[in-house]
């Protein structure tokens, strides 16, 4: 049975899920949700996801939302298929969780708000807040300095292999480096840059990027 992913192939959180499904070789079907038209805030969609956000997955009768819960589920369900994205030992799994939390709590909001200011507001004809952009950029620089330190000691965030922790960063970093014009945040850091090159040239991500952009 094909997994239905409700969302848009261009939106960051659905991309997190799609990248995982592609890595694990799990077949899916994208069910378009028109975010520009506000489809995700309408009653019919709220029945699927009460917070009015994408993505949602339907796998037969089983439904899930929250992209980071969905990727954890599929990485566990198909642990023996495709690359192991979870880690092997309890300790490795804990480090994967740690860096997934870092992405969620230390990086995501900064990246999201930068993209909002630099890409989304201008598209909607609104002015961005230059002081806020500067502030966000400085904070993100500080966070990426920590990543630089980590990746100078470790090939990937949680250890020697690519895991969900690295995957979770792909959509936001891609938006930051492309549409938001903030590529220097990555390219000016030797180890972060090398890590970005490795994770963004994985076939699954390249396939998704070609579908999306």
């Amino acid at each position: 049975m094909v997994v239905k992913v409700y969302g848009s192939v261009k939106a960051a959180c659905p991309q997190r899920v799609l990248a995982c499904l592609l890595e694990k070789g799990v077949e899916f079907e994208i069910v378009q949700v028109d975010l520009d038209e506000g489809e995700h805030k309408r009653p019919e969609f709220l029945l699927r996801q009460p917070f009015g956000q994408v993505p949602v997955i339907e796998d037969g009768d089983f439904k899930l939302f929250e992209s980071r819960a969905i990727i954890r589920y599929y990485a566990a369900k198909y642990v023996n298929q495709g690359p192991n994205l979870l880690g092997n030992t309890l300790e490795e799994k804990a480090l994967v969780d740690q860096w997934l939390e870092v992405e969620a709590h230390n990086l995501n909001d900064l990246a999201f708000n930068l993209v909002l200011q630099l890409v989304i507001l201008p598209r909607m004809g609104q002015r961005s807040d230059t002081a806020l952009v500067h502030n966000l950029e400085q904070k993100l620089e500080a966070v990426l300095n920590i990543y630089e330190q980590r990746l100078s000691k470790s090939n990937y965030l949680a250890g020697d292999s690519f895991t969900l922790a690295d995957l979770s960063h792909l959509p936001a970093l891609r938006y930051l480096m492309n549409e938001a014009g903030m590529a220097h945040l990555v390219t000016q850091r030797k180890h972060v840059n090398a890590w970005w090159d490795k994770i963004s040239s994985r076939p699954a991500w390249k396939k998704l990027a070609s579908l999306a952009h």
């Binding site: 980071r68 589920y73 804990a94 920590i146």
Partner: protein, 219 residues
């Protein structure tokens, strides 16, 4: 021989409390190593070697050092899954997934709305500032919408992920505990199912042990 888990943090700290509650639920022995927040011990090099983000708590279990409280609770709940309360439903992949959904909801929807409110009432005054009503009002509005979803969910099941207490419920304890001491507590108590859920989860012995130490700002 198993080593004793060390938890670096402070009893008044929400994120430290989150991990301590989990350790108590699993009946796991640990040592709380105090970190002096007021002298900014957590921002200085010896501590930064443990958590480069300069935040508490940090968990040490033998050679493993972890930061991020929700990664710690996941680790403890998994390592000790056969002991104490079953917080992660590891026998059932789908139940386990639903627990993860509501863990993410706490992390992505609930926390961002409640944390600034708790900050304004508890931390800002210590820095000599009055609570920013604009920030409080904006986040109360967001939190109210989130709690509307919780009210609907909790009218059809006793706990967030189903009819079983889980890590998803536990993660809400520390911030909500402090929130209930603010003038904004009514948005919890005016929602019947949310109120009943809160009373249930906050009266669990594991949390009661921890909340005794959560006296931030009290004289």
């Amino acid at each position: 021989m198993t080593t004793l888990i060390k938890l670096y943090g402070a009893p008044v700290s929400t994120c430290t409390a989150r991990v301590m509650t989990c350790l108590h639920e699993k009946a796991v022995d640990f040592a709380l190593v105090p970190v002096d927040l007021f002298s900014c011990e957590h921002k200085q090099p010896p501590f930064l070697a443990k958590n480069p983000f300069g935040q508490i708590p940090v968990l040490e279990d033998g050679d493993l050092t972890l930061f991020e409280s929700r990664a710690m609770t996941a680790y403890v709940a998994e390592k000790f899954k056969e002991a104490g309360t079953d917080l992660i439903r590891h026998h059932d992949l789908k139940e386990a997934a639903l627990v993860k959904v509501w863990i993410e909801v706490e992390s992505q929807q609930f926390h961002p709305a409640i944390a600034p409110i708790v900050y304004e009432y508890f931390v800002a005054p210590i820095q000599g500032k009055s609570p920013d009503q604009g920030v409080i009002d904006a986040n109360l509005e967001k939190l109210s919408k989130v709690l509307d979803v919780y009210e609907a969910k909790l009218s059809s099941a006793k706990y967030l992920a189903g009819d079983f207490y889980s890590l998803a419920d536990l993660h809400h304890l520390p911030y909500t505990y402090y929130f209930m001491k603010t003038p904004c507590a009514s948005i919890i108590s005016e929602r019947a199912h949310v109120k009943a859920w809160w009373e249930d989860i906050s009266s669990r012995p594991a949390f009661k042990k921890v909340s005794e130490g959560m006296n931030f700002g009290e004289k």
